[in-house]
Amino acid sequence: MLPPRKAGALPEPSPSASPSLSLRRIQVRWALYLFLSLALLWFPSGAVASTLNCHKTCICASNIVSCSKMNLTTVPTGLPLYTAVLDLSYNDVSRLRAEWTTVKLTKLHNLLLSHNGLHFLSSEAFVYVKHLRYLDLSSNNLRQLDEFIFEPLGQLEVLLLYNNRISQIDRSAFQGLHSLQKLYLSQNIISRFPLELVKDKNRLGKLSLMDISSNRIKVPPIAELQVLPAWIKNGLYFHNNPLVCDCSLYSLLAHWHILRLNSALDFKDEYSCYLPGPQKIKVGVFDLNRDYMNCSTFHEADQEAWLEQTLILRCDTKHRDLSKTWVMPGDVVVTEGFNQTAKVLPDGSLQIGPVKPDDSGTYTCYAVSEALNETLYVLLKVFTVL
């Protein structure tokens, strides 16, 4: 009869197994230590070997890395983390892949890639360079702009895309460019006016220059362009396009010319259009009122109001961020806490009302900033109902 055994009691392990097992464990442990120490030893030197050779591949002036005209087909690896300007122009980088840099280049502000024959932009190309302010992709072979292609570049201010082969621009191609001020799309084959960039809720709020001159636009959205604020119209260049002659087109550009907006003033002679008909005669848009289509000469419309109406007079300046002062007819300056009929709103507009017949006259808006000034006149006519 075997004595009852205590529950859970294990037998003694066999004596022969113990030395080999513990020896194996010790061996494995030391092998691991050795491997780790070797790995640590080689890791830094490995990293050093892949950094940019500043004397051979590029010229490095502190944080400016200039690798232009060096017959490069890919972006050099191991770019220093302090790089602020990277010049890769006049090379043969035809594809900008997702991993052209493997680390975040947080100090990179300017990226120059013009004259590279670039035809492919990866959708992840800009994830590591989110602080870019200036991107030059001009004089390349880009054919279309895909959706969200520039999405990571929330600090980009200037984007150069001129002299490519762009024919299609996705409506969300420029999403995410909250800081964009200047966009150059000239010298391409664009046929659709990208109105979404300046209108509607997804528009680029800071865009003061959009250049789509020298493209293939036939019919710009004239009615929508007319109601844009002056500071946007001032930088909206669409000269040298195969526009279709139309009196509304003449009216728009004549108005812009009277307002002395740069887009119409600087390139007056380059706004040409094709007369309707089989012969396709090309004429200057500013000649449409006289010689060709007999469009009515443009007159600046006066502001009209009815008796007792409250209305807002806009001070539609060419530049933004000017401080505005209004002077009413009779040289009366509108000040704070004036009589309640005239009030200057936060955006610089003048709210007047209820108006009486003797409120008619010329209202002057003086807009000044440190470097600029503008003077605008609004002629108000108050009608009485008899």
Partner: protein, 479 residues
């Protein structure tokens, strides 16, 4: 016969002039405000440049010289790129009437001397790129008038001297980057460098020059490294100096500073490091030890403590019955008293490097509350009271059932058991015990398996398979 000056030709010429004025030169690419004439083999500027030009790119051409007022027709010119040309010098007044210029790139040309008049009048200039030329000399007045200057690159040249004195707080208030790296400067006027505005020093890049190893040089860079300037941090290995000016004896002095061990690096710099230890609470009579750990790392630091009573305590104080200060900076109070509470301030001084750092410790000495209760007695009292209450409940409460006999006390689990009672539980039908019958077929299966060694392996077996193991009732008890 129509002469050359016939009315038709004149009209034609006039028309041509009218139409070519301000339009795009054929060799350039024009957008609304940009003129891109790069890499066109130009040896001279195009004649008629549109006056609306804001950015003019003439890089990678063969321009050798620019005449006076070359860009005076471009009143809106903001950016001018002339990199990678063959300019050896600039004519007098080349940038006359071009005061709108903000960015000027003259890098990778062949300029030898920067004369005073080159950049005259460019009061709006913000960025000036002159790297990779052959500049040996920068005249003293070159930067005068450039009051908007923010970044200037003079690297990759052969500059031996630079007029640091021309840069002061009021002359260049926005200058944040001055790159003089990769030149041939051996010794600099270190006092002038130290006198530069702090914002300029922060962006002064001097790496990769042929600097002479000397204390005055080392102290400047040492201070910049202490302040964490990027100019030093990003280029630590490129800061080299030559021992006695010998080209083959180059030292990376920011990595290997042994050579400069004996240098004193100037005025005392106080590191703003005050570490407040959250309230240290001690009981009265306990021994208190406060250490003086700061960011300073050195072997020869001297320590000074200031007590809450504004007393200075150092190692040399002889109040050693009350408070001790050890050589390693530790302050010890052998027996804390309540009026030793307060903020103790320690200052560690590294005389050699002229640095000090401070540490504060807020000590609170509390007097423990006297025990009015002895907890042991309290517990005993509580036990006795409970016992009395229980006994009262048991024996003094009236009996409701009216029977005289006391009811059996409730079953209190006790280790020993009475087999009689157990038998009644297990087989209620047996009203009386039959020992003989009880023996037979009384097998109880064990709830837990037994471990048995068989052939060196462990096997779990059930008790059922071991009929010899069983509980046996009987007068003999367990077997």
């Amino acid at each position: 016969m129509t002469s050359l000056f016939s009315p038709d030709t004149v009209v034609l010429l006039c028309l041509l002039l009218h139409f070519t004025e301000g339009t795009c030169p054929s060799i350039c690419l024009c957008t609304s405000d940009t003129l891109s004439c790069g890499s066109q083999g130009l040896t001279r500027l195009p004649l008629l440049l549109p006056p609306t030009t804001v950015t003019l790119d003439l890089s990678y051409n063969r321009l050798g010289w620019l005449g006076p007022g070359s860009f005076s027709s471009l009143t809106k010119l903001d950016t001018l790129r002339l990199a990678n040309n063959q300019l050896t010098t600039l004519g007098h007044g080349v940038f006359q009437n071009t005061s709108s210029l903000r960015h000027l790139d003259l890098s990778s040309n062949r300029l030898r001397v920067l004369e005073q008049h080159f950049l005259q009048g460019l009061w709006r200039l913000e960025e000036l790129l002159l790297y990779n030329n052959r500049i040996t000399r920068v005249e003293g007045g070159t930067l005068s008038g450039l009051s908007s200057l923010r970044k200037a690159y003079f690297s990759l040249n052969q500059v031996t001297e630079f007029p640091f004195f021309s840069i002061q707080d009021h002359s260049h208030p926005f200058l944040t980057m001055l790159d003089l790296s990769s030149n041939r400067m051996t010794t600099l006027p270190w006092e002038d460098v130290k006198a530069l505005p702090g914002s300029v020093q922060k962006g002064l890049y001097l790496h990769n020059n042929s600097l002479l190893c000397e204390c005055s040089m080392y102290s400047v860079f040492w201070h910049w490294e202490q302040r964490g300037f990027d100019s030093v941090r990003d280029f630590t290995d490129e800061h080299t100096c030559l021992i006695y000016g010998e080209p083959r004896a180059s030292v990376r002095f920011l990595r290997h500073s042994l050579y400069f061990q004996n240098c004193t690096v100037g005025k005392v710099v106080s590191l703003p490091m005050a570490v407040l230890l959250s309230n240290l609470m001690v009981n009265e009579g306990e021994r208190v030890r406060l250490d003086c750990q700061t960011s300073l790392r050195g072997k020869e630091l001297s320590y000074t403590w200031v007590s809450p009573n504004q007393e200075y305590l150092t190692q040399m104080s002889f109040n050693d019955t009350l408070i001790n200060v050890f050589p390693n900076g530790t302050l010890e109070i052998p027996a804390a008293k309540v009026n030793d509470s307060g903020v103790y301030l320690c200052t560690a001084l590294d005389y050699k490097h002229m640095l000090n750092a401070t540490r504060e410790v807020n000590v609170t000495v509390i007097r423990p509350m006297p025990d009015t209760f002895n907890t042991g007695y309290t517990t005993l009292l509580g036990c006795v009271v409970t016992l009395v209450v229980i006994l009262m409940y048991l024996y003094l409460t009236p009996c409701r059932c009216g029977c005289c006999k006391q009811p059996l006390p409730p079953a209190i689990p006790i280790p020993a058991y009475d087999p009689n009672t157990l038998a009644s539980i297990f087989s209620p039908t047996l009203s009386h015990r039959d020992p003989t019958k009880a023996n037979i077929n009384k097998r109880v299966v064990f709830m837990e398996p037994l471990m048995e060694e068989q052939n060196g392996d462990l096997r779990a077996t059930l008790a059922r398979e071991q009929p010899t193991l069983q509980w046996e009732w009987g007068a003999s008890g367990l077997s």
